[in-house]
């Protein structure tokens, strides 16, 4: 298990390095925006990765609600945590990009806004997990995750019609992208996905370990003939 983990980590590292090289050197420079555009190769893959992780979180939460499987709970937790991190990356790279290109940090555009709302929802999920005092945290969290995921389509629809008078992303619309750029983008996405998986994996192992330790302590308390009562 740990050997496999190690090999996978090494591969991911290599892939990340290659993707970095591809993004910074191989990819052609965009005509109007210049080098700033290269942030694109981090911005978009992060967004896609975050979406995938949130989707897994939803699946795991539903599964947990039905089957009460502790592994599903850990998976949900881990995916939410890592997903929030990637979503944060999107929310940081976006404004960094927007500043030189649009001249502003933030605008209430559809895509920006929906990302922000998504981020808010999953941060509130993590808050619930931390603040919950009972042994039933997983149940409550799973319930919230389901509601949060259901909210996403509504966010999308409502924001679609929201303040349409404001600028759309400059590079929206799929077709017009340079194939070489697309190639680099996909490489980066693959690298990011592997990286996310790697982080989730190690976080999963950590959480597992933590719970095992707790369990062992609990077992210890059971055996203790006259435990530290009182």
């Amino acid at each position: 298990m740990s050997k496999l983990f190690f090999i996978f980590a090494l591969l991911t590292l290599l892939l990340l390095g290659y993707a970095l090289h591809a993004a910074l050197v191989t990819a052609p420079t965009e005509r109007t925006m210049g080098d700033v555009q290269r942030i694109f190769y981090y911005h978009v893959p992060s967004a896609w990765t975050a979406f995938i992780l949130f989707f897994i979180n939803f699946g795991a939460s539903v599964y947990y609600l039905i089957k009460r499987n502790p592994t599903a709970d850990i998976v949900a937790l881990v995916c939410a945590e890592v997903g929030v991190v990637f979503c944060t990356v999107v929310l940081i790279t976006g404004p960094i990009w927007a500043r030189p290109v649009w001249g502003i940090w933030w605008t209430w555009d559809m895509r920006l806004t929906s990302t922000l709302v998504l981020w808010l929802i999953y941060v509130s999920y993590l808050f619930l997990r931390r603040f919950s005092s009972s042994g039933q945290t997983p149940t409550l969290a799973a319930a919230l995750a389901v509601l949060g995921a259901l909210c996403v389509p509504f966010v999308y629809f409502s924001i679609w019609f929201f303040r349409t008078q404001h600028p759309q992303p400059v590079m929206g619309g799929g077709g017009s992208i340079d194939p070489r750029m697309l190639h680099v983008l996909l490489i980066n996405w693959l690298a990011f996905s592997c990286f996310a998986f790697l982080v989730c994996w190690s976080r999963y192992r950590l959480e597992r370990l933590q719970r095992d330790v707790d369990h062992a302590h609990a077992m210890e308390a059971l055996r203790d003939p006259r435990g530290k009562l009182r």
Binding site: A221, L222, G227, R230
Partner: protein, 228 residues
């Protein structure tokens, strides 16, 4: 729902309940039969309340098995269990009668006389209009018992019903509970005043550190062994 005497009504085996790392119940194995009155005794923190709450479906056991009236899911038999806890479980703002009427609805009883009857049985006045929040401690305690008795349950789980109740009323209450037992019900009473139940209880159960240490019919023996 067999009411033949020997069949156990509650069966627990190796019940464990943990709060985080702390184990409040550390392997309880026992059977409780119908038509008996059990007194559960033990030092503070022994796990008596936790045991009762687990029976009442309010705590999920960490491990071990629990079966009440043959069902393993509490929801299926909750109609047949009456539970009295330490807090009154009553609305402070309503009078005793209003409280009971509301809880009666939850059990599908739409019968005012039944409510009045239980209030009388615990020695209170059904016509009292004062809200429960202004009752004295002992009056609250009795009203709480009335709530537990309301739907005439097969199994009664009572957590320290006699604390704060005056001496006369205590004997009344013991008599009432003994009568309930004689109707074939199972009565579990957690208390620190074992002597009150000396004549009435069929069995005394001594808990210590989350385990049942001893079960006996004779309170005296228990006291001797507990001292030692």
């Amino acid at each position: 729902m067999t009411e033949t005497a020997p069949a156990p009504v509650i069966t627990v085996s190796n019940l464990i309940k943990q709060f985080g790392r702390f184990a409040a119940l550390r392997g309880v194995t026992a059977e409780f039969a119908s038509g008996k009155l059990y007194a559960i005794l033990g030092d503070n923190g022994a796990g008596k309340t936790t045991l009762l709450r687990t029976f009442a479906g309010l705590n999920q056991p960490s491990s071990g098995s629990l079966s009440i009236l043959g069902a393993s899911k509490f929801r299926d038999i909750c109609q047949h269990v009456g539970y009295m806890a330490h807090p009154s479980l009553l609305y402070d703002e309503m009078s005793g009668m209003e409280n009971l009427e509301y809880f009666a609805r939850l059990y599908g009883i739409a019968n005012r006389t039944r409510c009045a009857q239980v209030i009388l049985a615990v020695g209170l006045d059904p016509a009292l209009t004062r809200p429960v929040g202004q009752y004295s401690q002992g009056m609250k305690q009795r009203m709480s018992l009335a709530r537990a008795l309301l739907h005439d349950p097969q199994i009664l789980l009572l957590d320290e019903p006699f604390s704060n109740v005056d001496v006369h009323s205590t004997t009344e209450m013991v008599r009432l509970l003994a009568r309930t037992r004689d109707q074939g019900k199972t009565v579990l009473i957690v208390t620190h005043q074992a002597s009150l139940l000396e004549g009435a209880a069929d069995e005394f159960i001594w808990m210590e550190y989350g385990k049942i240490i001893e079960r006996t019919r004779d309170l005296k023996r228990l006291e001797i062994s507990a001292e030692g």
